[in-house]
Amino acid sequence: MNNFQYSRASNVADAIQLLAADPDAKLIAGGTNLIDLMKENVERPSRLVDISRLPLRDIEQTADGGLRIGALVPNSDLAYHPQIEQRYPLLASAILAGASAQLRNMASVGGNLMQRTRCAYFYDTATPCNKRSPGTGCSAIDGLNRNHAILGTSSSCIATNPSDMSVALAALDARVHIASRSGERAVALIDFHRLPGDRPHIDTNLGSGEIITAIELPPRGFAQNYSYLKIRDRLSYAFALVAVAAALDLEGNVIGEARLTLGGVAHKPWRSLEAEAALRGQAATPDHFGRAADLLLQGAAARAHNGFKIELARRAVVRTLMQAARATPQSQAHKKIA
């Protein structure tokens, strides 16, 4: 780990000020991603601005009946919050599918959104990587790419976003609240992360000098018909090969509203409004779910080792939508896939 200066921010304005004063400074919250990357010399901040004590830990009702979640709420506290368990169980389930109990105790909501890819070349400073060192090339495109993206890739980078929480947040139409010297703004979660394009070193649309203050959930939580299915190489404590967040509003067996987002397949949570529109007004059957999966996976392209993900994702989408339709959501503890 490199030597760095350490400052403890006393309020949000102070954190913004400290960031502005030093372009190589970084915020630190739970530290579970940043410290790891610093130990690998992938991140080398000149200064850490400790925001872990800022008063951004509340979960409050909003005027429209949704919830506002402070950026420093620990992942475990969020997953086990009664309002989240009862009204947004899709979100609780996705969070509990990620990392370990210890890490979830440390990890913050803001840090989870900002966590960086787990591409092994990104972590290995001995190899070229456009995300870590712009312009050096991408080692994964012709290398070991079994875990890499099948959608929205570019010739510069085929990395995936590793967050489980973000997949559920995208499906739930969450918004990210951001503060900076020029005031506050909010952006839809689905527009928060970017595709790699020719600038893969930029993961999100968060500007330098900006800080995430909260996440906002709209009132609608899809608490009846939802499921989060995460497929990985071992049953727990592993990143997704493919993950699916599905939520339905059903009248009898007919679909009103549908939400469908994939994780583990792209540089951001992958959602298609077209696939969701195709489900509206249809019967909740495997055939219709298969058609939605095809729409969601339109344009999927494999590299040498990750072709299996396309069929896996298709089947996982159908299975997750069936779980949602039957109101038998995937349990994150009892691993049998219903």
Partner: protein, 163 residues
Amino acid sequence: MGDATHDIPERTPVHVIVNGVSHTLDLAPWTTLLDALRDHLALTGTKKGCDHGQCGACTVLIEGRRVNSCLTLAVMTDGAEVTTIEGLAKDGTLHPVQQAFIDHDAFQCGYCTPGQICSAAGLLAEGRARDADEIRELMSGNLCRCGAYPNIVAAIQQAMSRS
């Protein structure tokens, strides 16, 4: 990277209460809690396995919550209460999880054991595990290369039923 352009930061006094004892340490900001415990306080019960959050050997309790001390900067714990494996026994009586690990022979080499036990103590305090599947899932952050998992789960079930 210790750039010449950046001043080498000063050491910072860090006040921590470890196993009920108050300490003020003079630490560089990049010292992890794990290294502070082992190298500065000679509390070597807490183990370094991967040093990257992937094995759980370094698990300790901060304010009663289980965390990975390898991914925690000591300076960020200033003012906090930390409990390590050395602090679980009270007045010469083993913590129920410690006793259960002995009763169930829940280890082989023992390297993962301090982390397993601290993690299980955190699990009991959280009160989220009700059956063996849930114990397995909520203990998945603690790897055991010796594969003592069946006995670890049995030990935790014993400690759960008695607490």
